[in-house]
Symmetry: C2
Amino acid sequence: MQESPIPIPWPSRDRYLTPFLPLVYVAWSDGILSETEMGRIRQAIGESEDLPASAARVLESWLRADSPPSPEALARLEASIRRAARRAAPEELRSLVSLGVAIARAEAVDAGGWATAKGLRVLGGVEELLGVLGGEAARDLAPPERPVPPQRDSDGPTAATALQRIMTGDEDERRLRTRVLELLSDPRIRVPDGLPTPTARKRVLAAVRRLAAEGLGKLAFPTEFGGTDDVAGSMILFETLAYGNLSVLIKFGVQFGLFGGSVHQLGTRRHHEMLLERIGSLDLPGSFAMTERDHGSNVRGIETRADYLPDTDEFVIHTPHPGAEKDWIGNALHGRMATVFAQLHVGGEEHGVHAFLVPVRTRLGRPLRGIRIEDCGQKVGLNGVDNGRLSFDRVRIPRRNLLDRFADVTPEGGYRSPIVSPGRRFFTMLGTLVGGRISIAAASVSVAKTGLAVAVPYSARRRQFGPSGEAEVPILDFLAQQRTLLPALATTYGLHFAVRSLITDYASADSRHTPPRVEALAAGLKAYASHHAQETLQNCREALGGQGYLAANRLGVLREDTDIFTTFEGVNVVLLQLVAKSLLSKYRESMGDLRLWSMVRLLAERAGEEVARLDPVRSRRSADEHLRDPEMQREALLFRESRLLHTVARRLKRRIDRGMDSFHAMNECQDHLVHLARAHVERSILESFRAGVERCGESGDGTAARLLGALSDLYALSTIERDRAWYLESGYMEAVQTKAVRDLVNRLCRELRDEAPALVRAFGIPDAVLAAPAALDGAPG
Amino acid sequence: MQESPIPIPWPSRDRYLTPFLPLVYVAWSDGILSETEMGRIRQAIGESEDLPASAARVLESWLRADSPPSPEALARLEASIRRAARRAAPEELRSLVSLGVAIARAEAVDAGGWATAKGLRVLGGVEELLGVLGGEAARDLAPPERPVPPQRDSDGPTAATALQRIMTGDEDERRLRTRVLELLSDPRIRVPDGLPTPTARKRVLAAVRRLAAEGLGKLAFPTEFGGTDDVAGSMILFETLAYGNLSVLIKFGVQFGLFGGSVHQLGTRRHHEMLLERIGSLDLPGSFAMTERDHGSNVRGIETRADYLPDTDEFVIHTPHPGAEKDWIGNALHGRMATVFAQLHVGGEEHGVHAFLVPVRTRLGRPLRGIRIEDCGQKVGLNGVDNGRLSFDRVRIPRRNLLDRFADVTPEGGYRSPIVSPGRRFFTMLGTLVGGRISIAAASVSVAKTGLAVAVPYSARRRQFGPSGEAEVPILDFLAQQRTLLPALATTYGLHFAVRSLITDYASADSRHTPPRVEALAAGLKAYASHHAQETLQNCREALGGQGYLAANRLGVLREDTDIFTTFEGVNVVLLQLVAKSLLSKYRESMGDLRLWSMVRLLAERAGEEVARLDPVRSRRSADEHLRDPEMQREALLFRESRLLHTVARRLKRRIDRGMDSFHAMNECQDHLVHLARAHVERSILESFRAGVERCGESGDGTAARLLGALSDLYALSTIERDRAWYLESGYMEAVQTKAVRDLVNRLCRELRDEAPALVRAFGIPDAVLAAPAALDGAPG
């Protein structure tokens, strides 16, 4: 049987007991103490020789699990402790003990005896028993009421302006960009999100018409047809349009890039003369009809037929079965003509996929005879774009409607082509897609920029949680938030430079024969950038919490609209395999399987040599100056690419030598091939990024160059970190180094945290175009 | 100067030249040969003593880069080779050389001389020079026209039925589930996607009303108020409703789970008598008003005030500034009463967050005086739910409207609570959220099931690409597609068992004090499952290509609707930190920071002991029987959790010892804490999964048990694989073992590929509820 509990006179003004108050409060406020723990504390008190027996008995009764103080008494106790603690000197907040003494003083209780070393020892012993960290608890009780710190945002305008200059190339480009950004605020072009589909389609059509009226539809066409022959410019235009409504962007791309581009690049002079001006002004809306329901990725397998009839000098375009219907065709409901891809049959011979101009509707919009057009129906996003299905019932078109730049049929039914290899011919005709892929990569980067331009300022402003008793901190101070946003920011910068450099290479190449290296990088960057955009938007959505779920903040709509970016213009995993094949064949005739196998053999034989390059000292070096050395970073990415190339070759060879066919061999190594492709893309991005940093350094802007350098470090190191399992498995790095990489990524995130708002301002997206309330300064946090 | 080229008589019937045809065709079809390569081949031919000079000259001219054959001739050549090859014997397809001989025979050319060993050697030499793999090329030219293999789908119905039985618990549960699934096909409950917001809200309200009329709103309430006291049942109900429209689900959850649950769990008898029946029948629609604009995650920081006025025996509910508005409140436009969380002030003392019943609208729907309600506006998803903002201008409510189960105010203004610690009291009052979190976890699993039930059958049916000349293969045969879907399928199964077991634990616990272990796992599984649902839907969307972008296939809509699952009922990263803190304090008073620090110290001191457990032999064992040993898998996950716990404790201690405050110490280790939480959740999932496998084995169904076992292997190993960097860094595994894990994951994917359709059928989602055209057998591939 226990004694009946002694009533507890909270708050106490007892000279012996008052100094114990913080300790008692903490014991109870920390949750229900177990009887064992209480017992141990009571015992320590009972054994103390410094405490009179009566005081010890009271104290013991205060610490009995079966007789807790009333919550009201506890609340009053807390209030009085906090009041006293607010006046305590900082050194008195070092422990519960010293705080207790301070409280006794504040309550004008003579605690003289306790303030001695001996007294403090007793109190300290009890505190230790409670197992709490005294200082922590004491500080917790005494909130140093610091003012809310001002917005941190160093080097803001200056660095942002300098960076923006670096990122927007020459004067022409800047002028085009500014013009397009102005147009994006034009109410005739600015299509709000969330309109009902029929309204959205009308508004989007009108917006594209307006852009065409500005002459922007013809940018890539030759000057003699009203254009400016500016391929790079047309891509910068596309990249900039991607800050606005994405249905407008995609419809624009279908009309001028795909439909116009196919006439321009696959047709010859007579087609250009007849059509390019009309296409560029949207006088002739048209479609690009390649994909079929049964054949999306495997374009070579499409089944629409084009049979030549020498008697009437015509082709017959025909859909043999429903699976061969053209599906997902953009501009399907507004288009009056389509570039239709079909298997060409001439005199009993099949010549593979060719492109034909097929009129599909009258000027008034009625489908022509033999042509069936259906709406695809509601989509996840991009509902402002009229995607549809097209099928052809023995539709006749004149022979001259074959786009005949790379192959021609004579009136007599002869077949001619300047490209002998059917494989090469097929991929040359698909060249239209290369420009499309680069454009999609560019647009994806813009979308990622938009996402970050919303999420970063919001995170720098929105406050939640904080040190006990202090003001809440901006959520961008949290490591998890930094990890979510800052490596994505670095990747976005890297992709920016990589896509810009690819645009330059593509625009300066001979349009007849895009270098395989450029083709491969176009496929790779499209896959990488579209995936990055998706991931970044999702992260930004979550980083904004509920605010991200408001349609008005655009992140959800952008994600829905760009979701299909990972699928169209080539499904990402298929594109990454193209990249890997291209690497395996060292860019020589990247598309020929047979040539590929001979290269695979060669590479497989050389695989062993790589191992010799491993360096046991380098693999353990973990100092910052080593990890932040651009040469080290580049070498690490190069090594990975090269090693993956050789090891996948070895795996493929082993299978082929066993008699496995190439399809199954490739499939068994698909994860490895995709990994190789990513490694290649990442290495290319880093190289473009570093080149950008160097240009920036040469231009003499130190702050901007330092920031860019730190971002490129973050890109390189977070890329290595994500794949550190591979680096460990390959022996290129040891655990001490990969851990140092992770640690440095964390520190780089902290280092860049304050600059992040300036870094997204450098994207130069005007508020009126960004148009997300959460991004704006005045908006609620 | 070269000789002028000799015209090439394609096809050739020359006895010397015909056997070279396949070689010549391949040389050209593989793309443009470089002049060097051509030269080398011509040289080999010229030096051959077996070829007459005239034939050699012709052959050389055929292989001159500057005089390619016409594409027409090449097409004819290809046709004739393919014709001949089709009749060749399999052994003749081993190389281009033997194929050439077969062609000569087919074209009735006497190739006698070439068929000798010597002749073949010459041809072989040339073939080698071309650097192609002869067999590959030959097979390529001679498609073995195999019939399309039938749908593979073994053990279909039987295994699916047995598995479904294992997964749906007892008879009661099955009955409830069946009933709900039937209701989900009821046109009054079935709300189509994509309706305009006002219509959707009306339809959703009507559907919830219909469910209430079926008595489903009261399931968790005590029997005396019309319920069945069936907490577990109410969660199974929620889980099953999640196969239907998610706005219906969430509105249902707000009304009965959050609003009803708060009255049930935070109120006392008089509240129950007055309200539970009316809430359960939707006679009284209501809201759960906790979140404020400035305080979402940090609930403790909410600023709405409730001041007690002893004079009138009332509380005054007040919104002090716009940031304290209640935000994102579900049922805001239909609700007539709200459970409002506010800071209680009694007689000048602050007692923390308490819940109050506040009438907000008249029966006719007009807001009451002092209450302002606004629509939140269009959201990314869940637009059928009426989320809104509520604010209070000195609104008076009677004292009895305090939900007083855990704290009461006396008429005189005294404060009483059975829970002494304010921290513990706060978290007990938040207990309503624990049930909500488990429900969201359960719903997330259902959504992941829906995604897979669409994507897996589609991938097993849709064909694209294939071995050269053969029928295309189902895309589920591709390793990348398997990797996208099958580990997600395994995780979904694992989560199913884990959530079920958590439901059982939660339902059987004392409702006054949910064990901290259950609280922690509820937070952890909510975070893990909601993230998994998002990721799986995204993967399924991409796995369906364009079909996934059709709104009709539901994946996009589901993703938009569940997107907020990662944010509401606790932002995932915040929840994972709760889990980590709970683990650090060994579940004792998980919420008290001070208790936490003493445990951190203890754990940090023990961190060294872990290392001794590393076993150099085990870390290299890579045989399947080792990796598929459930004990090995469990140990690997346990080790990770335990090691992460000790190492993060050490990192925290180091910081706290340096004098860093707890907030900053936690933040610097945030990634580590989140990692620990995931490790804990994954270990818990695996244990529940294995328990399910064992129950299945005991029930005597071998096939089902084998399948489940393989799935649990895939879950465990893909989890280890994803974190293999950590296993390597910690020294628990060596590269040889992590590589074996990756390889085994690939093989498990292949092993389960054929069973995958049966495995998703076992989810038991009726076609009418699934309602995605792409999932149906008759649908286009």
